[in-house]
Amino acid sequence: MLDEAFAILKQYDWGSDMAPLAPIEDAVALSHDQAELRRDLENRLVATLQSDASRDAKDYVCRKLAIVGTVASVPALEALLRDKDHSHMARFALERMPTREAAQALREAAVKVNNELKVGVLGSLGSRRDAAAIPVLKGLLTDSDPSVARAAALALGSIGGVEAANVLKEAAMSATGNKPVIIDALLACAEALLAGQKQTEALAIYRSLAIDDQTRLVRLAATRGILACTSLQS
């Protein structure tokens, strides 16, 4: 049954009937607490990924690897990060896999892939809230490609925390074109700090932004932030 399903999967495209793939869907669910079955399933999925299967078939495989994938899947997915047809779905899987290797693969890709694909990879690092990616992202804040610099700033904002905030603060002082994005990311950091009960750190960011040099909307957001931080002490 599963053999037949994988054979059909190779030629799969999204317009065709999904019923023949039901054994794969069932195996994903059934293998939840059966390590052997899951390993076999992952091997089959990786093999499909490395074959000449259709684009839609590899797309399908990435979706399943996001659920069942382990460190064993990382190399095959990493290889796809540089492929413009498959990079997005490879990130989809790597972004959700809770292994260090998956994060490492994304960090390495962040400096290797072309700028068009890099924007997505940076977004995935942000989504993973990968603090280890901060040095890489810091370097990219001044990238000559504005979309890369912008993606790096947003990723830092998503990662949050004091370290990311410090990088953004420093960048904000010298930034020109992408300053609004950096400020936006900084506000996101402050918000995350406040939500994590770190009022003092959040307050420092808000205070630095509630100044006349900033735009009205930034001052308004920062003022609301200061009120939120200080009212907790009242």
Binding site: L203, L227, S231, Q233
Partner: protein, 465 residues
Amino acid sequence: MLRRAVFGWLILGSLVLLPSATSIAADMNDEFLQLVVKLIGDSDREFRAAGLDHVRTPAGGTEGTKLFAGRLPELDSEGQTALVGALADRGDSAARPAIIALLSSSTDESVRAATISALGKLGKPADLTLLVTYLSSKSGAEQAAARATLTQMQGETINKALAAELPSVSDAIKPALIEVLSARRAGNELPAFLAASVDENAQVRSAAMAALGQLGDADQLAAMIPGILKAQQGGERDAAERSVALVCLRIDNEDQRGAKLIQALNAVDLDKRDQLLSLVGRVGGKKLIDFVGQIATGSDAERRKLGIDALSKWPDASTADKLLEIVNSTNDSAERSQAFQGYVKIAATRDQRNDRQRLDRMKQAMQAAKSNEEQLLVINRCRTAYDVETLRFVLPYVDEASFDQAACETIVELAHHREIRDPNKAEFGKALDKVIAVSKNPEAIERANRYKRGETWERKAKSAN
């Protein structure tokens, strides 16, 4: 020994650190209060809103409330209105003195209305006298705010305190104050309403009777009667009677309801009692039919007239037999005519009876009719019995010159009802052909043609004149 020394250092360390943490908190609190105070007066509405959002929360405590309220005199009208609303939402009565001061000093109507509204949440019973005076304010906004505030104010003593104001306030305020008490469902203050129900001022009386109608029960019935007698004929009297009828209808048992009302009426002087017969008609019930029936067939002609009038105003057809009995038994032609008209009116009422029962009453009326006018009246009122049998009853009159036009009108009205016209299409078709041939009314002919074609007809709205 070493452990004790370490423990001692830890205690000492925490004592040194503790004031530091406290002072940070105090600094933050101070920063918060100062920032809110600054934002309250900001010219940018969004910044001001950011400050007001925090005025609405308890943050800053009573110290904060006083600080925020202290800014009221410095703000423009828009800012004052917004801050007063936010302070009301905050719910800390520490803002009350500043709000009362603003109420007396502001010349802006919207600010005063906002302060009046705020007192609904922050005020005390001591503010009632002040708030009550705004019930007669020339400003509609202030009046509405005072009314809403007095209605919303919470506390067990509020109703009593408001009722205590009633005797001393001006006539301009009394009706509104009674309405406020009624809206507050102040059921313990009914004696105050009863006293006001015989006030010299018609508006006060009307408000009091309406309140009694909402809150009163059988115990107030007798005491409400003077309110009806004091009311002027017309709208006020009608409304007063409706209020008493409302109270009567709260007595579930029909016999008890009748007995209570009769008991209340018997307490009234005989010469005034007859004025209340129309009230009896509004309440209805078998016991009351007997009571009014005795008057309608009694020895006093003037009282008989009033009695027949009351029977004719009954809310349902339960007085029909009594009226028909008078029609058939009286020797006074005027009285007979009055009873006949009352009977036809009552018989045609669309109450709980079915259409066949209504038609049967009309047939009885036709038998009792003694003149063309009376027959015309019956033919006309047959239109309320939506039944094909009614068509069969009325149709022969189309051939009689004295009744043909009235019969045509009634047939057209019956045909208007699709639910009887459609199942009897052929029969109605022939009758409508007759109407088209006989009627002199162009509208009736047009309607007859439309109904024959299966079309509908929209009744024109009555002219305002």
